[in-house]
């Protein structure tokens, strides 16, 4: 235990400033600084929940907020990978819940955005191993120390999902313009009930396909879901590249998708910013190129 703790301390990493879990915090102060707990969910897998969680976390932290990301996908840990923090994870959420380490030791600080922390999921355990009450208590505790607690929900609507939403009172539902994704979001929103406010992020829109009538538009999707729209993200290659590298695209000042994530973060923070729309990747030259078989 002692040695593990030493290993966990990255050499150049500054001390984590959050309160130790056992330390009683003045309740009045805690109530005043209670952060927002937002679950990122979708029902269907592969729509971009983890990418959205990572990028919104980065974007919110870059605005100066204290943000902690919880990977609730126990057994299929990925948020650390998307954030590029995989080599620094020593403890996971079940180590904390089962008392093998302290919360402060399990949080991994992102050096690029110092007010961003990650609590990784356990990779070699199952979703049913997490007790809903314990998860709720964990989120409650983190809300005392952070402005935002973003919870990356697993796909599905079973135990892992129930644990992920337990401590949240807001939700960001991620939907792609596919019939299966829309149906699943519809189901998930029903399960969130009245307690959890849901807002929509539409991911992987391809404006050229929408124009040709080959893809559901954002309006089509939201005519069915009828949720407040946080923003729209295009199906852009820079997201793939940034995930390959473990560098969230929200850090990339030049990226249109990064700008869209930053705008969504601003909206979450309550700024009066227009919901980003998927940018139009096909200019005249692109079209000319595709006419001559330049791109497929």
């Amino acid at each position: 235990m002692e040695t593990q703790r030493v290993v966990n301390e990255p050499i150049e990493s500054p001390q984590i400033e959050i309160h130790a879990p056992a330390a009683p915090v003045d309740t009045q102060k805690k109530a005043k600084t209670r952060g927002r707990a937002i679950v990122v969910t979708s029902g269907k897998g592969g729509v971009g929940k983890t990418t959205t969680t990572a990028n919104l976390g980065v974007a919110l932290a870059a605005r100066g907020a204290r943000v902690v990301l919880i990977d609730a996908d126990v057994g299929l840990r990925n948020l650390d990978l998307v954030l590029g923090l995989e080599s620094r994870v020593r403890f996971h959420v079940l180590d904390v819940l089962e008392g093998r380490t302290t919360l402060a030791d399990a949080l991994v600080r992102d050096k690029r955005v110092p007010s961003l922390y990650l609590l990784a999921a356990a990779q070699n355990r199952e979703k049913d191993d997490v007790a809903t009450d314990a998860m709720l208590a964990l989120v409650e505790q983190l809300r005392g120390d952070f402005d935002y607690v973003l919870i990356d929900s697993p796909a599905g609507i079973e135990m892992g999902f129930k644990n992920a939403i337990a401590g949240a009172d807001e939700a960001i539902v991620v939907c792609t313009p596919e019939v299966a994704a829309v149906r699943d979001v519809d189901r998930v929103v029903g399960l969130l009930g009245n307690r959890i406010n849901a807002q929509l992020v539409v991911n992987r829109i391809r404006p050229a396909l929408v124009r040709k009538g080959k893809m559901l538009s954002v309006q089509d999707v939201n005519a069915i879901l009828r949720l407040p729209l946080l923003g729209v993200l295009g199906d852009a290659p820079d997201v793939i590249v940034s995930t390959n590298r473990g560098e969230p695209v929200a850090l990339d000042e030049a990226s249109a998708t990064g700008a869209a994530y930053r705008a969504i973060a601003a909206r979450i923070a309550g700024e009066d910013v227009a919901a980003p729309q998927a940018s139009e990747p096909e200019g005249f030259l692109d079209k000319l190129g595709s006419f001559f078989g330049g791109r497929r």
């Binding site: 596919e178 019939v179 829309v182 149906r183 519809d186 189901r187 929408v210 124009r211 040709k212 009538g213 080959k214 893809m215 559901l216 538009s217 089509d220 069915i224 009828r226």
Partner: protein, 143 residues
Amino acid sequence: MLNRVMEWFRRMLGTPSSSSVAKERLRLVLLSDHLALAPDVIEAMRRDIFDVISRYVEVDEAHSDVSFEHKEQGIAMLANIPILSLRAREPDLGISEESPPKEETSVLETVSVNGHKTDNYGRRPRKRRRRKASGASQTAPAQ
């Protein structure tokens, strides 16, 4: 503008865009999700509505539209059914009062003759009817 024109052309050619097919499929499947009714039950309900109205007036089924919409209070069924003419004679209401089961079978027969009974899998009949008509007569005896 351009896509409106494209959509218009597609409609003229009878091939809806895949996104409008997706929209319609989603609409139906979510409706059944919400109502906890299977798609074939909804289709049967739609059929029965036409049959009932057809007993009294002659309706233009090709230009009819029965749909479900989300309203603030929940889901509403909206029917837009053009009436071509009133039926010349009194509908055979007396039969249904005397022997309801017999009336029921006669309605079902009408349905299968028209080739509408293909909808056990929730398919919408209108556009497929012509193609599916032969298939319908095959499946009808099994019912």
